[in-house]
Amino acid sequence: MTHQNEYRKPLPVPSAVSQQFWAGLREREVRLPRCRQCEKFVFYPRTICPFCMGVEFDWVKVSGNGKVYSFTVVRRAMIPAFQEATPYVLALVELEEGPRLTTNIVNCDVGNVRVDMPVQATYDDVTAEITLLKFEPA
């Protein structure tokens, strides 16, 4: 519980639409919605498929592997709780299955991150309820 009290960064608030994504992370799995109609993976989770207007999705476990599409080293943060963590790497990671997501690259010196670098999922239990999906060098 101490850990939870100490965490002051903004937390996601899982919704009915996204709950399975966050639940997957708690169980050390990356699960993404896949459109039943066009069979494309969709991220972020939403109620309509952006590719075909489909409205039915299956939640599918994906590899958690990807590569850095772009990244920046944040040296000055907007939110005080993040200022303490600077410098940190904010990145767009492209998953093997296609979707890109915003994340952090961790377990790696900020000076060693490169575009196109292979990365793999790592799970950060920031509170008793929430696990964030971060990536580390593969």
Binding site: F71, T72, M78, L92, T102, K134
Partner: protein
């Protein structure tokens, strides 16, 4: 449908940006710039029958057009809030022209600006979010630095794909500062800035340095867009709308296939086609510049150079008012200031000043055609305009 010569900008006003509000209020600033713009157009408030407002970034208020209209005693037949981020002012111009062209009104007052400073800006960032938006759930927990980090991601990818260098980006900020040094109204009028100064300033979000990033400040601007018959009677040379194009994508970069190419690649060709004007005919480029990378991407996507060659292009050309490719002759937002959405209006007011021959020490010789680009979000919203005098 074309909006070519359907309306003209005949009145402008702008107050000198200041680092803090000094007791000014947003409504007070709007009133000030509205009055001056209407007088500049040679009109009175009773002539104004259209009202467009760009919402302030700080503070959420409903029904701005009614509030401002009441304060000014303006009762429009056409009114709206144009909420395209920094692209709002450019977006107002063609919306006003379309309303005029449809016969709804004849003189549209377009207003922007706000009382803002670094403290109120940071207070807004720390505020508890009230809406359940995808960005709040999937981006914010990872610590983006507002839109700063979004533009940094674009810059880093641009460097990776095209070999663009920090020195090339810094050149944009340095040339624009030279312009600001000839504009007494610019926030950084009194301070010089070299390429080395930019590169030696602290990295904030790699690869962007402090002096490649706009700072919040207080200020405001307004323009009056009028029908051709009204424009022909105006006291200043009308700045005619010749062409307009608009295009958008989402606000989250995770959703964008190619982050180094912006919707300007769609909006600018529409504007040039409607205007019947070639890139090489343009005398002034007024390109939205929240960051240095924004200008480089704009020059590429608007077709002034080949895609990916924006870096070498800004290095090869002199972007100052004395140069071979005058760009943001007022200093751009990087050196003039970004008083909320009035920052995006500064590109318009400067283009009109240059077209009308009212740009003082930095006046371009023979400025007849200007390209204006408005940008909102993380290159999300784009409005491209061609303005001309003839």
């Amino acid at each position: 449908m074309t909006l070519n010569r359907s309306a003209a900008i005949t009145g402008i006003s702008e107050i000198k940006p200041t680092p803090s509000a000094d007791g000014k209020t947003t409504l007070g600033i709007w009133t000030d710039v509205s009055r001056q713009a209407v007088l500049d157009a040679g009109l009175s408030m009773s002539d104004i029958d259209g009202l467009l407002v760009a919402p302030p970034i700080v503070g959420m208020v409903a029904m701005w057009p009614a509030i401002l209209g009441e304060y000014l005693n303006v009762h429009p037949k056409y009114e709206d809030v144009v909420d395209l981020g920094g692209a709002s002012p450019a977006g107002m111009v063609w919306r006003a022209a379309a309303a005029i062209d449809a016969g709804l009104c004849k003189a549209v007052l377009c207003v922007s600006g706000e009382a803002s400073d670094i403290d109120t800006f940071y207070a807004r960032r720390s505020r508890k979010p009230t809406a359940q938006l995808p960005g709040r759930e999937f981006d914010v927990p990872y610590g983006p630095m507002g839109v700063n980090s979004g533009y940094a991601l674009i810059a880093a990818r641009h460097m990776h794909e095209y070999g663009t260098t920090p020195r090339q980006l810094a050149k944009v900020a340095a040339d624009q500062r030279t312009n600001a040094n000839a504009n007494p109204d610019a926030l950084f009028y009194d301070t010089q800035l070299t390429v080395d100064d930019v590169l030696e300033s602290p990295l904030i979000v790699d690869p962007l340095h402090l002096f490649e990033i706009v700072r919040p400040c207080t200020g405001g601007a307004a323009i009056v867009v009028t029908a051709p018959d009204v424009a022909k009677e105006s006291q200043h040379t009308p700045a005619w709308l010749l062409g307009a194009g608009e295009s958008s994508r989402g606000t989250l970069l995770s959703q964008v296939d190619d982050i180094t190419t912006s919707p300007i690649a769609k909006s600018a060709p529409k504007a040039f086609e409607m205007a019947g004007v070639e890139r090489k005919e343009i005398d002034l480029i007024s390109a939205y510049d929240c960051y240095t990378i924004t200008v480089v991407v704009t020059l590429e996507d608007a077709g002034f150079c080949e895609k990916g060659r924006g870096g070498p292009f800004v290095e090869e050309h002199d972007l100052t008012y004395q140069g071979d490719l005058p760009l943001n002759t007022h200093g751009g937002q990087l050196s003039f200031g970004q008083p909320g959405l009035a920052g995006g209006m500064s590109h318009l007011t400067e283009a009109v000043r240059q077209l009308q021959g009212r740009a003082g020490d930095r006046q371009l010789p023979d400025c007849e055609l200007a390209f204006v680009n408005g940008n909102g979000g993380v290159m999300s919203e784009q409005v491209s305009l061609v303005l001309g005098v003839e």
